[in-house]
């Protein structure tokens, strides 16, 4: 469409609401306009601005894979004004979506390699898109390992998908909860994600690591990956920052000269090391 209005959102109907964990929900969204739905393209790693009329917009990644057409999904935790309003929405209601923005995971460059996904808590959603994207192209990759942990069993998101991944023979899934977060029937690991990762001792040989989690988890995970022999150009993560416009004009999300909304949100550890301490 020539001369588009970059501030105008797509109108999306909430097709399905899933309660993932306390205060965490997933929305499956479908375009109300068929032409827009047909023309919409995005790649794993990109994000959007999701809005509730009258409240404002909030930034989340697109949590579904681009290999699944006809809908997008987002997962969010009820934290502030917009997410609280979103949490009150039901199936059939309309919300806004602007996107896709940002850069993407370079999945094509990973073909023929082993993939190691490491996520913590509410940071599994940004990874889910790339996990499913790769699983939908499973034959292109070698070993497929997912290490995922949360504070408690209840806080694990995508519980039904975790079960699916666990049952697949071509995926090695390690789930863990923080010490004290287990239930009597918990069969997974108990321990913080970095510790569990080190115990799993994955091989760095021909492997790409994709990490996403709360800052404290990331802080302890990167050194372990380096210790295991991973090159910092083979470690990927996705950052978040305060955003408004999503396309580099409102001046909020830059870390030094790097704009998280344009040059990110996907970065390698090598690129992260170059960033000034401003995020």
């Amino acid at each position: 469409m020539s001369n588009p209005n970059i501030y105008k959102p797509y109108l999306m109907k909430i097709d399905k609401v899933t309660e993932e964990a306390p205060f965490v929900k997933t929305f499956r969204l479908k375009f109300t306009n068929e032409e827009e739905s047909a023309n919409f393209k995005f790649r794993a790693g990109q994000f959007g601005e999701y809005s509730v009329a009258g409240e404002g917009e909030s930034t989340f990644c697109v949590a579904s894979s681009p290999t699944r057409e006809g809908y997008i999904e987002c997962t969010f935790r009820e934290t502030g004004r917009v997410t609280s309003a979103l949490a009150g929405k039901e199936e059939g209601e309309i919300i806004g979506f602007r996107g896709p923005y940002g850069n993407t995971f370079p999945i094509d460059e990973w073909k023929g390699k082993n993939l190691l996904f490491i996520a913590g808590g509410i940071a599994l959603p940004p990874m889910r898109c790339v996990i499913w994207n790769c699983l939908d192209l499973r034959e292109n990759f070698k070993d497929f390992t997912i290490v995922y942990g949360a504070k408690t069993v209840n806080d694990l998101v995508y519980k039904h998908e975790l079960k699916e991944w666990e049952e697949r023979t071509d995926v090695k899934l390690i789930t863990t909860v923080d010490p004290g977060g287990e239930t009597p029937d918990w069969k997974g690991e108990i321990g913080f994600v970095p510790t569990v990762l080190e115990k799993a001792d994955p091989s760095a040989e021909n492997t790409i690591a994709i990490v996403c989690g709360p800052p404290i988890m990331i802080k302890y995970t990167f050194p372990i990956l380096e210790k295991l022999g991973f090159k910092d150009t083979d470690i990927f993560t996705t950052l978040e920052n305060r955003m408004k416009c999503g396309f580099g004009k409102c001046g909020r999300c830059n870390v030094g000269k790097v704009y998280i909304c344009k040059d990110g949100p996907v970065f390698t550890y090598a690129e992260l090391k170059q960033l000034p301490a401003e995020y």
């Binding site: 404002g56 502030g80 004004r81 609280s84």
Partner: protein, 267 residues
């Protein structure tokens, strides 16, 4: 000025304080706030009739928190601001040394806040004829004229919040304008948003304003913001006999109930 510089050098050399907050020469013959952190910088300190910024605004800001001991050069309005902040429990006396400047430009080394309170109450605390005249001009207007006057002024405001940032009494870490659940004050600077902001601020400052006029001086568009809070200060003095900046212990009129409070505003 020499005595001031000497005092500053002395305090810094003894490490009695780590920073002296005062004034220095600025651009185009104006003065501006200065932060002196070593004795050799103390010669930059000045004090004359150009030194009008209310330095008390820096006492509640992050950059001077922690274990930093501060000396602050206090003109009369700054002294009153310090007393008001102290009465609201915002300052720790042990970290602030106040060097007052009297009307005849002499240095007053205050021992503690009680010392400042005593000094303030020895001065003339009535509103000046100029202040009264400004308020009377608005009071003399009819309701319609007044509405039009303020509409005109507020329509020019662009919500830069210089008034808020420059006011020592606006120290809330989360200002009402920053609240978005719910959004009490509209963010954009349309007429409604501007009215909401200025009326809110005036009410939050009612009776707490000591009349330094910093708000309208800081305003890049010369809006007469000081008139709002000044008028409310006058009203509160009339209604409750309370004035800010004069007592460390007298509770704030609007958060206190006394059985003999005048209730003429309820009809």
């Amino acid at each position: 000025m020499d005595k001031l510089r000497q005092k500053a050098k002395e305090l810094l050399s003894n490490n009695e304080v780590q920073i002296v907050v005062g004034y220095e020469e600025g651009t185009a013959g104006k003065a501006r706030p200065a932060f002196i952190s070593s004795p050799d910088q103390a010669d930059a300190l000045i004090y004359d009739e150009r030194c009008i910024h209310n330095l008390a605004v820096y006492l509640t800001q992050h950059k001077l928190s922690g274990n930093t001991k501060i000396a602050i050069i206090a003109s009369f309005p700054v002294m009153k601001s310090i007393i008001t902040l102290a009465s609201e429990k915002q300052l720790d006396e042990n970290f602030i040394k106040v060097i007052g400047i009297s009307k005849d430009n002499n240095i007053i080394e205050f021992k503690d806040f009680a010392d400042i309170e005593r000094y303030i109450n020895q001065q003339d605390l009535t509103f000046t004829p100029e202040e009264l005249a400004l308020i009377e001009k608005i009071d003399a207007m009819s309701m319609e004229e007044r509405w039009e006057y303020w509409q005109n002024e507020f329509s020019r405001c662009f919500k830069c919040y210089a008034c808020r940032s420059a006011c020592p009494m606006c120290y809330c870490t989360l200002c009402i304008t920053d609240f978005n659940q719910p959004q009490w004050v509209s963010v954009p600077s349309h007429k409604q948003g501007n009215f909401e902001w200025h009326i809110n601020r005036a009410m939050h400052l009612a009776g707490r304003c000591i009349g330094c006029d910093e708000c309208s001086r800081a305003c890049p568009l010369d809006l007469p913001i000081n008139l709002l809070t000044k008028k409310l200060s006058m009203d509160i003095q009339k209604q409750f006999g309370y004035s800010a900046g004069q007592s460390l212990t007298e509770p704030y009129a609007l958060s206190t109930y006394k059985p003999d409070d005048k209730e003429t505003f309820i009809r």
